[in-house]
C-alpha cells in the first residue's frame, strides 16, 4: 500500500493505503468522491475519463493513482471559477454540444487542452484534436461548434494566455496549467 500526495482542483490531498493497482479514475471517483469523471470503456478508447494532469489531458483509466503522486490534477468539478462556468462549459451549453452528458465532462477537458495547444483551431483541427473522445449522441456537429465558440470567447477575453494567467493568479480555481 502506498502513500500519495496530489493536488486536485487546487486542494492538496495526502492519502495513505493506496493500492498500487488502483486506477486514477477509481481514486478520483471512489476516494475523493469526484464522480464527474466517468468510465466508458476498458481500453482507453472513449475518453470519458479525461482529466488534466499538470494542465495536459490524460485518460485517468490508463494511469495508476500512484503515478499521480506529486502532480496536480484538474477534473470537471474544478474548471468553473467562483460560480462562473469555464468558457468551454458555457459554449457546450449554448451550442447544445451534449445530450446524455456522459461523454461531456471528458470531452470538455479534452477541448480545454486542445485550445491550450491550439487557441484558434479550424474545424478540421477540432475534429482531429478530439480523436481521443467518443460521443454517441451528438454526431459531433455541435461539439465542433462549441469548441469554435469557446475559442472565440477566449480570444475575445485575451485568449488562452489570459486564461492561463488567471489560473496562475488563483483567479480561476483550475490549477497547474501548463
Amino acid at each position: 500500500m502506498a502513500r500519495i500526495e496530489v493536488e486536485v482542483n487546487g486542494t492538496r490531498h495526502e492519502l495513505e493505503g493506496i493500492e498500487p493497482r488502483l486506477l486514477l479514475v477509481h481514486f478520483l471517483r471512489e476516494r475523493l468522491g469526484l464522480t464527474g469523471t466517468h468510465i466508458g470503456c476498458d481500453t482507453s478508447s472513449c475518453g470519458a475519463c479525461t482529466v488534466l494532469l499538470d494542465g495536459k489531458s490524460v485518460k485517468s483509466c490508463t494511469m495508476f493513482a500512484v503515478q499521480a503522486d506529486g502532480r496536480a490534477l484538474t477534473t470537471i468539478e474544478g474548471i468553473a471559477s467562483n460560480g462562473a462556468l469555464h468558457p468551454m462549459q458555457e459554449a457546450f451549453w449554448a451550442q447544445h454540444g451534449l445530450q446524455c452528458g456522459y461523454c461531456t465532462t471528458g470531452m470538455i477537458l479534452s477541448a480545454v487542452d486542445l485550445l491550450r495547444r491550439n487557441p484558434n483551431p479550424s474545424d478540421a483541427e477540432i475534429r482531429s484534436g478530439l480523436e481521443g473522445n467518443l460521443c454517441r449522441c451528438t454526431g459531433y456537429e455541435n461539439i465542433v461548434k462549441a469548441v469554435r465558440a469557446a475559442a472565440a470567447a477566449l480570444a475575445a477575453t485575451g485568449g488562452a494566455q489570459r486564461f492561463e494567467e488567471q489560473k496562475r493568479s488563483g483567479e480561476l480555481v483550475e490549477v497547474g496549467g501548463g
Partner: protein, 780 residues
C-alpha cells in the same frame, strides 16, 4: 404569447451535466454497499459440467457466490420476460443465470458479491467452470436449415416464428412487369454502444419489505412491473429509479438478467449491491441491433412505376428473446413499402435463434432495415431503366393529397408531403450541378457519388392495440400553492431534453416563468405509471399527455376565476398564458393566482375540489409518420477505396417543432449513427461464436473526424394524430442516413459495373471492387 414553444431554448438539464454534478448509476454510493461481478461463458454453446465456487467464496471480502443452479435450489426459478402478441411464437425459458447449458459467449453463469469491486474481480478469477462443448450455429441461413444444430434442443427447431403476409396480387404484378430486380441485401449486426454501459444499484428495505432498483434504463415503470413478476413481489413493493442515464438508443429498453439478479441479491443478502458493467461485457451481453438477410425482388413498369415487392426476411434473434426481440423484424415488414405507392406485396419474416447475443430494439428498430432495402431497390430499378434516382422517386411517391394513406401492409400514414421535401433537398444540394460535376470528374478518373434517401418511418409508439404492451403515456401537472409548477412525466428522457421542451410548453400555456417549472421523471415512487422513452414517443405521446393535463388545469382555473369575478366560466378564456374575460381587457388572473385560491380552498365555487393539479393519459389513435430526404455526396478514391463525404444535406419533417435546437441535435446524432452502419460498424462473431468485436478497439464507433458537417433544413407537416401536431425525431436521422450514404457510394462505383455491396463499406471492400479497372484505365 407562445414565446418559448418553437424557440431554441437552452437545455435546463445541462448545468448539472457540464459541471460533473449529475448522478449516473455508477455515481450512487449507499452505506454498506457491496459489489457484484458476473462470471460469463467463454463458449457459444456448451453443457455446464461443473461450477466450483468454493475458492472464490473463501477469498477475502467475498460475501456470497451463486450459480444458476444455486438460484434454482433456493426456489427462485423465474424466467426473463418477452413482450409480444404473436400466436405461435416459440419462447424458450431464459434464466437470469444459465442452468445446465450456455447458448452464447457472455451468458452469465454465476455471480460473486464482494466488499469492493477489485476483490470481486479477483475472486471471479478463482471460479472454476467446466464446460462440454456443443455444436454451434452462428449463420442465420444455416440455423434456419432443417439439419442445423439446435440452440434450444427442446424446441426441435431454431425457427421461432414465420410470419407470412400478402396484399394485392403480387404474382400477377410480377408476371406483368417490364422489369424485375432481385437482390440479396444484408443488414449487418450492430452494437448500440451508449457511452455509459449498463449498471444497477439495488437496495432491500427489510422493514418495509421493499426493493429499490436504480438502473440505467429507458423504462422504469415497465422494469418495475416485470421485476415484480420475476422476483415474486407485489408491484408496490418494487421501486425502480432511472437516475441520469448516459444514452440508451433502445438498448436500455429491456429487462436484463443482471437487473433481476442484482435485485434478488439485495433481498437475499440484505445489503445494497452495485453492479457496473465493463465495456467488454457490454459488447457481449447488451442487446445488439439489426442482423437480417433480406432476399428482395421488386417489379416495375418501363416508366419506373413500382408494381410489386417480394421479400424474404431472415432475422437473427440471437440465443434468447429479450423484451422485444421477436417484434423488431415485423416492423421491417410493415415499413417495407416506404413512401411509395406499392399495392402488391408478398413478404415473409422468419425469426431464427443462433448462438449469439439477442437482437432487440436499436435506434430505428426494424425500420432502418426497411428503409435501407427499399431505398437500395429503388436505386437498382432506376439504374436498370436508366432513370435518375430522383425521377423514379417522384414517379412513385404517395401524393400529398392522398393522406391519410393506407399502405399495402395495413398502416395508415397520417400526413406527408414527400415530393416537396425531396425537391427542397435537391435544391439545397444543387443536385443538377452535382450530376454535371460527377460527369466531368469521371473523365479525370475521380469518382463522385450522389446518394438519395427518401424515407418515411413509423414512430410515436403507439396505439396500445398495435403495441406488445401499453402504448399510452401520462403526465401530472401540479400548480403548487405559491405558483411554481411541477410536471411529473411518465416518459424517461435520457438526453432527449424533455425537461426543457415540456417546461417550454407549460410556461407558454400556463403563463409561468420557465424557471418556475420543474419536470420530474424516472422514479416509480414519484411519478404515476408511464411507459417510457423509446420509439420516438417522448413528445408525441408523453408531450400530448402533458398537453391534456394542461388543458384540464386551465379548465379548472377558469372556473375558479369565474367564481371570483362572479362571471360565467364560458365568458372566460386562457389567452397568452393568463385568464381573461372576453371583451373586458381589465380583468385578468394568472395561473399562480388561481392556484393559490385553489390551495386556500375558501373561495371556490360549490362542488369544486380544492387544489389545482391534474393527471391525464394520452392514448394515441395512430402512430405518427415523420419523413424526409437525405442527400449524400461522396468521393471514393480508387487508389485506396477510401470514402470522403463531401456534403451531407438533410431535409426532415417531424411535424411541429417544440425546440429546433434539440430537434437538430437529435437529427445530427441520428445521421452519425446511420452513417456509422453504412461505413464503419459491424459486430462480428466467428464460426465458433467468439465475439471478435468485443472492445472499442475492434468495434468502429466513429470519431469526430469520421463524420462530416451536416446541412439541415426542414419542412413542417403537422400530424393530426395528437393535440400538439408533433411527430418524432429520435430515430429519423438514423433511418434516413444509412441508405443515403450507401446509395452515394454505389453511385460512385457505377462506372465499375458495381451495383450492390453489403455494409459496412470499408476501404478494403471498395478498393477490391474498384481494383480491376483502377490501374490507369478509366471506365467509360
Amino acid at each position: 404569447m407562445a414565446t418559448l414553444v418553437g424557440a431554441p431554448v437552452r437545455r435546463r438539464e445541462d448545468p448539472r451535466l457540464i459541471t460533473g454534478r449529475a448522478t449516473y448509476v455508477d455515481d450512487i454510493k449507499l452505506v454498506g454497499m457491496v459489489h457484484a461481478v458476473f462470471i460469463r461463458s467463454p463458449y457459444a454453446h456448451a453443457k455446464i459440467a461443473r461450477i466450483d465456487l468454493r475458492e472464490a467464496k473463501a477469498f477475502r471480502g467475498v460475501l456470497a457466490a451463486f450459480s444458476g443452479e444455486d438460484l434454482h435450489a433456493t426456489g427462485w426459478k423465474a424466467s426473463l420476460p418477452v413482450a409480444h402478441k404473436m400466436a405461435d411464437l416459440k419462447a424458450p425459458p431464459h434464466f437470469p443465470l444459465a442452468v445446465d447449458e450456455v447458448r452464447f459467449v457472455g451468458e452469465a453463469v454465476a455471480v460473486i458479491v464482494a466488499a469492493d469491486p477489485y476483490a470481486a474481480r479477483d475472486a471471479a478469477e478463482l471460479v472454476e467452470v467446466e464446460y462440454d462443448e456443443l455444436p454451434v450455429v452462428i449463420d442465420i441461413e444455416k440455423a434456419a436449415a432443417s439439419d442445423a444444430p439446435l440452440v434450444h434442443r427442446d424446441l426441435g427447431t431454431n425457427v421461432a416464428y414465420t410470419l407470412p403476409f400478402k396484399a394485392g396480387d403480387p404474382d400477377g404484378a410480377f408476371a406483368g412487369a417490364d422489369v424485375v430486380v432481385k437482390q440479396r441485401i444484408i443488414n449487418q449486426r450492430l452494437a448500440p454502444v451508449p457511452i455509459e454501459t449498463r449498471g444497477v444499484v439495488a437496495r432491500w428495505d427489510a422493514g418495509a419489505g421493499r426493493v429499490t432498483i436504480h438502473s440505467s434504463t429507458q423504462i422504469p415503470h415497465l422494469l418495475r412491473t416485470q421485476l415484480s413478476l420475476v422476483l415474486g413481489l407485489p408491484e408496490n413493493k418494487v421501486r425502480a429509479i432511472a437516475p441520469e442515464v448516459g444514452g440508451g438508443f433502445g438498448a436500455k429498453l429491456n429487462v436484463y438478467a443482471e437487473e433481476a439478479v442484482v435485485a434478488w441479491l439485495a433481498m437475499r443478502l440484505d445489503r445494497p449491491i452495485k453492479w457496473s458493467e465493463t465495456r467488454s461485457e457490454c459488447f457481449q451481453a447488451m442487446i445488439h441491433g439489426r442482423d437480417q438477410i433480406d432476399d428482395c425482388e421488386i417489379a416495375a413498369k418501363r416508366d419506373g412505376t413500382i408494381v410489386g415487392l417480394r421479400l424474404r426476411i431472415l432475422a437473427n434473434l440471437g440465443a434468447y428473446h429479450q423484451l422485444l426481440t421477436p417484434v423488431i423484424p415485423t416492423l421491417t415488414m410493415l415499413m417495407a413499402p416506404g413512401p411509395y405507392r406499392i399495392s402488391n406485396v408478398d413478404i415473409e419474416v422468419k425469426g431464427v435463434f443462433t448462438n449469439t447475443m439477442s437482437t432487440d430494439a436499436y435506434r430505428g428498430a426494424g425500420r432502418p432495415e426497411a428503409t435501407y432495402l427499399i431505398e437500395r431497390l429503388v436505386d437498382l430499378v432506376a439504374q436498370k431503366l436508366e432513370l435518375d434516382p430522383a425521377e423514379i422517386r417522384r414517379r412513385n411517391f404517395i401524393e400529398a393529397s392522398a393522406f391519410p394513406f393506407t399502405t399495402a401492409t395495413g398502416l395508415t400514414y397520417d400526413t406527408g408531403d414527400y415530393a416537396t421535401t425531396m425537391e427542397k433537398a435537391l435544391q439545397l444540394a444543387d443536385y443538377s450541378s452535382l450530376r454535371a460535376r460527377q460527369e466531368a470528374l469521371r473523365k479525370e478518373g475521380r469518382y463522385l457519388g450522389i446518394g438519395l434517401s427518401t424515407y418515411v418511418e413509423v414512430c410515436g409508439m403507439g396505439p396500445s392495440a398495435a403495441m406488445p404492451a401499453a402504448g399510452w403515456d401520462s403526465a401530472t401537472v401540479r400548480v403548487e400553492p405559491t405558483g411554481s409548477v411541477t410536471v411529473l412525466t411518465g416518459i424517461s428522457p435520457h438526453g432527449q431534453g424533455e425537461e426543457t421542451t415540456f417546461a417550454q410548453l407549460v410556461a407558454d400555456e400556463l403563463g409561468v416563468p420557465i424557471e418556475n417549472v420543474e419536470v420530474v421523471h424516472g422514479d416509480t415512487d414519484k411519478v404515476q405509471y408511464g411507459v417510457g422513452t423509446f420509439g420516438s414517443r417522448g413528445s408525441a405521446v408523453g408531450g400530448s399527455a402533458l398537453k391534456l393535463a394542461i388543458e384540464t388545469i386551465q379548465a379548472k382555473a377558469l372556473k375558479i376565476a369565474a367564481h371570483q369575478w362572479e362571471a360565467n366560466p364560458d365568458d372566460l378564456e386562457y389567452r397568452d398564458g393568463s385568464i381573461r374575460m372576453r371583451g373586458d381587457p381589465s380583468r385578468s388572473m394568472t395561473t399562480a393566482e388561481a392556484g393559490f385560491l385553489a390551495f386556500m380552498g375558501d373561495k371556490l365555487p360549490a362542488g369544486l375540489e380544492p387544489g389545482l393539479d391534474a393527471t391525464r393519459r394520452f392514448e394515441p389513435p395512430n402512430f405518427v409518420y415523420p419523413f424526409g430526404t437525405h442527400v449524400c455526396v461522396v468521393e471514393v478514391d480508387a487508389e485506396t477505396g477510401r470514402v470522403k463525404i463531401e456534403r451531407y444535406v438533410a431535409v426532415d419533417d417531424c411535424g411541429k417543432v417544440l425546440n429546433p435546437m434539440i430537434v437538430e441535435g437529435q437529427i445530427h446524432g441520428g445521421i452519425a449513427q446511420g452513417m456509422a452502419q453504412a461505413l464503419y460498424e459491424e459486430v462480428v462473431y466467428d464460426e465458433y461464436g467468439q465475439l471478435r468485436t468485443g472492445t472499442l478497439m475492434d468495434y468502429a464507433v466513429p470519431h469526430a473526424e469520421q463524420v462530416p458537417h451536416f446541412e439541415l433544413e426542414r419542412t413542417v407537416t403537422e400530424t393530426t394524430v395528437n393535440p400538439l401536431g408533433v411527430k418524432g425525431v429520435g430515430e429519423a436521422g438514423t433511418i434516413g442516413s444509412t441508405p443515403a450514404v450507401v446509395n452515394a457510394v454505389m453511385d460512385a462505383l457505377a462506372p465499375f459495373g458495381v451495383t450492390h455491396l453489403d455494409m459496412p463499406l470499408r476501404p478494403e471492400k471498395l478498393w477490391k471492387a474498384m481494383a480491376p479497372r483502377s490501374n490507369g484505365k478509366v471506365p467509360a
